[in-house]
Symmetry: C2
Subunit: 285 residues, 2 copies
């Protein structure tokens, strides 16, 4: 049975993991480490953490069994360096980051075989610990990306943690993970942020944001996501994100050209195929 | 008080208008004209229409007070030509189409000053009369696009129709309408269809559609919209849609370049501005 957990970066995702564990009857201690004392205060008030600190030194007192990185992904390397001197040998380290790939190997090099990369496929555009919810991970996919070096005991403890909160675990190579989620998650976010940017550009004479009907609000909801979190994801998964944006621009150029040339038949097929593929997703769920 | 209504193209939108009128106590006759007898059968079974026909000739018997075009926009010109011989002088004609602009003037030339262009800013990705709902238009924007020629009495009857079902009426020039909705509705649909197309392209080795987490399903829901309806919208509003796609590709190229050059500060600002503008939409609603 897990005795204590330390969440580094106490926001929406880390907070939701803590609440989920509490809901499942977890009675151990939950600690929080954050650069922002305000987040720690809110987290304590909401019952997300028992104790919080802004200083790495307190980690020696916490003696957490598992440490979870829940801050923007580009902070993980620095956190690992600062954390290590205060971490006992047996502590397992994992994360909630949306990028794996080289980052997993870098963290392994810094922290050893006890680092286990994980990525819950859950979340909303909300940020901040005050929005945390206990049922965020139930029946949601949770990708674990072990390497050839990963400690088996550490891996099994991270698996247990996620099983406890009802996640549906799947294993994936760290680099395959980044290709897949570069396409199905990072690309759609880029697409949504850029759509708002385009509408800002086109709003010179008429404020287009006065007409947000026809699914526009739902469609662009993910553009309300945390900018720092997404800046880090785009930069950390740069190669795959750039490739995905390129493929996407090609798809858009193809559509544009069909409209331009009024290629009725081909245009219909293009839209039908997209629709067909999209509809299959609903059937599968 | 309205005595009779004819819906041409009995699908989700036309069906929802009929159900909304019934819900508001409308006791007149509702007729349906459709090329598909199956749609008419479903519409009768659902109580959407009282009588249906596949032949224009029956319009002389129906003697509808108001005719509503509810089929894909590129069918409107042909329908007008075929309908006119069977339509009594006093009948008002309006539509539910997503494109106005030149189409409004063309229909006016075919049908006279009694044609009143209208566009309800409501709908879902669903199609088919069987999915019709009575509350689709309540508190939703309804754009009416009168021209300098529009008959004032016809205009006032169309206004009354939409007030009866709770829509929030706004007037707009037909060409301004097409610029605005080319940007806020047609562009997002193009963006969504193209996103699915890109994922099909990238799914050669790994079926990316197995990982539809992280808001992907909500984000691409509108790509489940009717292909024929959208082919017609894209072609009928070609000029504005192409322009909007161009501006959008520029926004995407800008984002791509910021990621490519790891321009942290500018990238953060780009994402923050998009987020800020998107968040304001929620506050306004």
């Amino acid at each position: 049975m897990l005795s204590s957990l330390l969440i580094i970066g106490v926001g929406f995702m880390g907070g939701s993991l803590a609440l989920a564990l509490r809901e499942e009857g977890f009675e151990g201690k939950i600690f929080g480490l954050d650069i922002n004392p305000e987040s720690l205060k809110k987290a304590r008030e909401k019952g997300v953490i028992d104790e919080g600190s802004t200083s790495y030194e307190s980690v020696s007192d916490f003696e957490p069994e598992i440490v979870v990185f829940a801050s923007p992904v580009r902070t993980f390397r620095d956190i690992s360096k600062r954390l290590k001197p205060f971490l006992k040998e047996e502590s397992v380290v994992t994360d909630l980051g949306s990028v794996k790939g080289q980052l997993v190997y870098d963290l392994e090099a810094l922290l050893g075989a006890r680092f286990v990369g994980a990525h819950p496929i859950a979340g909303t555009e909300k940020s901040g610990v005050e929005h945390s919810v206990p049922d965020l991970f139930r029946d949601k996919k949770l990708i674990i990306t072990p390497t050839e070096n990963t400690d088996r005991e550490a891996l099994s403890r991270v698996e247990k943690l996620w099983k406890a909160v009802g996640a549906d675990i799947e294993f994936m190579d760290p680099f395959v993970h980044d290709w897949v989620f570069g396409a199905v998650s990072h690309l759609p976010h880029a697409v949504a942020f850029a759509l708002i940017d385009a509408l800002i550009d086109m709003s010179e004479d008429i404020d287009l944001f006065k007409y947000p009907g026809g699914g526009f609000k739902d469609f662009t909801r993910i553009a309300g996501s945390d900018p720092i979190m997404w800046r880090d994801i785009f930069l950390e998964n740069k190669k795959n994100v750039l490739k995905a944006i390129e493929v996407y621009i090609n798809s858009l150029q193809k559509l544009k050209s069909l409209i331009e040339h009024e290629a009725e038949g081909e245009l219909t097929r293009y839209l039908e195929e997209s629709r067909h593929r999209r509809m299959k997703l609903d059937e599968g769920s």
